[in-house]
């Protein structure tokens, strides 16, 4: 049977068919749907969890593998940075049950803080890596990775990227086959799993031997395929780049690599003998190019014409390879000049009043990873640094250290609930332990918002929706030694501003937690606003635009004609604002901002 599947759902399907027993992940675009699919569609067969972070996800998967189960951890590219510690060493221990790590890159940083190329992890960690090009391969490669993981005693990486993870194409479905390996722990395996120097040195040699075997295997791997057409030009490529290039240059010959580490050197040499000129098409870094060049093979085109950055597309490949022969399509309208439509915080989002308050207080905000990075954009302009998960909390502390008392009242850290549990606890501990005085604002919207509403240890529900212990942020902060913990309802603008001001000026560590402010898209938790929506009393509105500074998508400004040029009380105006009632959820922020009482609730 064939079904249309998203790449991530196909990976989940492949893992299920391979008999995966334990699957762990921390949500991260473009990888999140893998665990969602497993916990919704295959929960009877697979034990799934949203782990607090990727390091924990991988460690749990490693433990399950040591106990004989097929296990998987999935994450986005920067997630593997977090999980890199166990990753680098599980390469040495190898596995018992097949262990697969899915890593999803994000060329063009559609939803990421960088666009690193995860293939380097394969080489760095001495771990084999497969790279699928469509949903069918996502399923097939994931399945194969489990088998080969056991066959070669190695964790296996499967690398996707946004376009493969988030594209849909037909997949032939298979049945689930339980793993042949019996479950159980065996103390005799200790030397294999205990990486103390004496055993490390033994496993270190094993790793080299394994990679040699894998390289030999890669030469006969069924998904490293030569397609001979015109022998004048041969393209070496992998993943979605194969599809882009094939689309534009179907007449060329191809070596499509299903395994991108280790490389099948014999096949590459064979291909280079069969074709006159070699072109290498790969997104991001010249990974294949560097390796193939070092084999002494002459490369006609690679990164000399193709960019090192951003996501590719058929026309990027065509333009680069055709050079001066490329003829761009005719431009009809200069669309670059059209007003842009960047993503925005939802109407009614609790982040909006909070960031509006921060903006009014003039603070420098150490941001973190989540929807609230959207507050970076105008008109809020209220986030001033974003590095990685958890970096805001430590960053604000570092800045306060450097600035001394001068810094008081000038900056704060903001971090989401899920992000705080992922990586915000150690830096908060550091602030208390090392006698800091910075303020950490936990924006508790009761979900992992940006990646599509996943549960976390602070929501009180597991990945499959079962109720569980819910972490109390106040208790947690108190246990770390924070004495000043304030709760704030962000929709009360005046109070929010007062509390933030008091805490950032305080010469001691403090934490502010937002309450009753669930994500507007939350399915379970809903904030009940007092009024269904707000409207503008046009006769009073002076068109000053103060309310527009909150950047709510429901509020717009329009110019007025001669007849409307005066307010009821005789003030000149150039325009008025209006509220789109279909978009307004009635949060009332604009009404609190308006100085002329021109925005009023509509009572049902």
């Amino acid at each position: 049977m064939e079904k249309i599947l998203q790449g991530n759902y196909a990976i989940a399907r492949g893992a299920w068919e391979a008999g995966v027993k334990v699957a762990c992940a921390y949500p991260g675009t473009p990888s999140s749907e893998i665990l969602t699919a497993l916990s919704q569609e295959y929960k009877g067969d697979v034990l799934t969890e949203w782990s607090p972070n990727e390091k924990v996800a991988l460690e749990v998967a490693i433990g399950a593998s040591f106990a004989g189960a097929r296990a998987m951890a999935s994450m986005k590219h920067v997630g593997l940075n977090v999980a890199s510690d166990p990753f680098m060493t599980v390469s040495y221990t190898g596995v018992k049950g097949g262990l697969v790590i899915i890593v999803a890159d994000d060329p063009s940083s559609h939803s990421s803080q960088n666009e690193q190329d995860s293939r380097h992890w394969a080489r760095f960690g001495k771990v084999p890596m497969l790279e699928p090009s469509d949903s069918q391969e996502c399923k097939d490669f994931t399945k194969l990775a489990f088998e080969m993981s056991e066959q070669f005693d190695t964790p296996f990486l499967v690398r996707t990227e946004t376009r493969v993870s988030h594209s849909f194409s037909p997949v032939r479905l298979g049945e689930r086959k339980e793993s042949p390996i019996p479950l159980g722990l065996d103390k005799k395996d200790a030397p294999k799993y205990t990486m103390v120097p004496i055993y490390v040195r033994i496993r270190r040699k094993f790793v080299e031997e394994r990679m040699r075997k894998l390289e030999e295997f890669a030469n006969s791997f069924e998904y490293n395929v030569i397609e001979m057409n015109d022998p004048r030009i041969g393209v070496i490529t992998s993943g979605v780049c194969y599809n882009y290039t094939k689309e534009v240059f179907p007449e060329y010959s191809y070596l499509k690599l299903g395994m991108v580490w280790p490389l099948p050197k014999k096949i590459i040499e064979e291909f280079s003998r069969k074709v006159k000129k070699i072109i290498i098409v790969e997104q991001l870094d010249p990974f294949l190019e560097t390796e193939i060049r070092s084999m002494g093979i002459k490369i006609f085109h690679g990164k000399d014409v193709l960019p090192n950055h951003y996501e590719f597309s058929p026309e990027i490949v065509e333009r680069a390879l055709k050079g001066k022969r490329y003829k761009p399509p005719k431009m009809r309208v200069p669309t670059d000049e059209l007003p842009l439509r960047p993503p925005n915080l939802c109407p009614g989002c609790s982040h909006r009043p909070l960031f509006y308050a921060i903006k009014k207080l003039g603070l420098f905000t150490f941001g973190d990873i989540g929807c609230y990075t959207l507050a970076t954009a105008p008109p809020l302009n209220a986030i001033h640094s974003t590095v990685c998960m958890g970096a805001g909390v430590g960053g604000a502390f570092g800045a306060m250290k450097a600035l001394g008392k001068e810094g008081l009242g000038k900056c704060c850290a903001v971090i989401g609930d899920s992000t705080f549990l992922h990586a915000g606890i150690p830096p908060l501990m550091d602030i208390v332990y090392n006698k800091g005085n910075s303020t950490t604002i936990i924006l508790d919207n009761q979900t992992t918002g940006m990646t599509g509403l996943q549960e976390h240890p602070g929501t009180g529900y597991t990945a499959t929706g079962e109720p569980t212990h819910r972490i109390d942020f106040e208790e947690l902060a108190r246990a770390l030694g924070v004495k000043h913990i304030r709760k704030v309802d962000p929709y009360n603008l005046k109070e929010t501003m007062e509390i933030i001001k008091e805490e950032v000026e305080r010469d001691e560590p403090s934490v502010i937690i937002t309450v009753n402010s669930p994500c507007m898209l939350h399915r379970r938790e809903k904030r009940k606003f007092e009024h269904p929506f707000y409207r503008v009393l046009t006769e009073k509105c002076r068109g000053c635009g103060l309310c527009l500074e909150a950047g709510c998508p429901a509020i717009s400004w329009r110019a007025v004609s001669e007849e409307e040029a005066l307010t009821q009380d005789g003030h000149k105006r150039k325009g008025v604002v209006q509220i789109n009632r279909l978009q307004c959820p009635g949060c009332g922020l604009c009404s609190q901002i308006c100085k002329f009482e021109a925005i009023v609730p509509v009572t049902a």
Binding site: I4, S167, N243, S313, L338, L345, S556
Partner: protein, 195 residues
């Protein structure tokens, strides 16, 4: 089946249901025996940002992305988001526009103007191949503004000669039973609008 691949670009604003419409297209064309690929292109969490979906069908589809300038059908849920992709169309391409304006931030803030006469701009280049539907009004008549995407899908379905039954069955597969009736009404209203 002819060799060539047909390219459909769907555009709209996050939350308008562009993605659902393209999911349904995907299963319809797959059922009719085509190879299909579909890819959603949007930044961050698409919170009110622009969303486009590349949908391709044919005998064998390689790239999940349409090549710039190769769009056969541009279907837009919103006028500005249609205009944004006018250059992506082939010379002989067809355009289906939902006559709805959703202001982007710069327009809301009064800093830029919403482009004028978008339909006219399309007609200048694609005269006779520009189709328009009052999707939002029709959806509201059917009972819910949120069904605008299905009205537009209904209108778009008239471009192909598959039976209504195939469309409707695949439409319902993607929706919970309690909104089946509403969406069937919306789909049929869209079909009528262009029949």
């Amino acid at each position: 089946m002819e060799e060539r691949v047909t390219n459909v670009l769907l555009s709209g604003v996050g939350g308008q249901g562009t993605i659902l419409a393209s999911d349904i297209l995907c299963t319809v064309f797959h059922e009719m025996g085509y190879d299909v690929k579909k890819s959603e292109v949007h930044g961050m969490a698409q919170r009110g940002g622009d969303v486009t979906t590349h949908f391709r069908f044919g005998k064998k589809v390689y790239s999940p992305l349409i090549k710039y300038g190769e769009v056969d059908y541009l279907v837009s849920m919103e006028l500005l988001e249609g205009l944004r992709y006018i250059n992506w169309l082939k010379k002989e391409g067809k355009v289906l526009l939902n006559l709805q304006e959703i202001f982007p931030p710069a327009v809301n803030l009064g800093k830029m103007k919403y482009p004028e006469d978008i339909v006219g701009q399309f007609k200048k280049f694609f005269n006779g191949r520009v189709f328009t539907v009052q999707g939002l009004d029709l959806a509201i008549e059917c009972g819910d503004a949120r069904a605008t995407n299905i009205v537009i899908l209904g209108a778009f379905s008239t471009f192909f000669d598959f039976s209504e039954e195939v469309w409707e069955r695949n439409l319902l597969r993607h929706l919970p039973p309690k909104i089946h009736e509403l969406n069937l009404k919306a789909f049929r209203a869209g079909r009528r609008a262009l029949s």
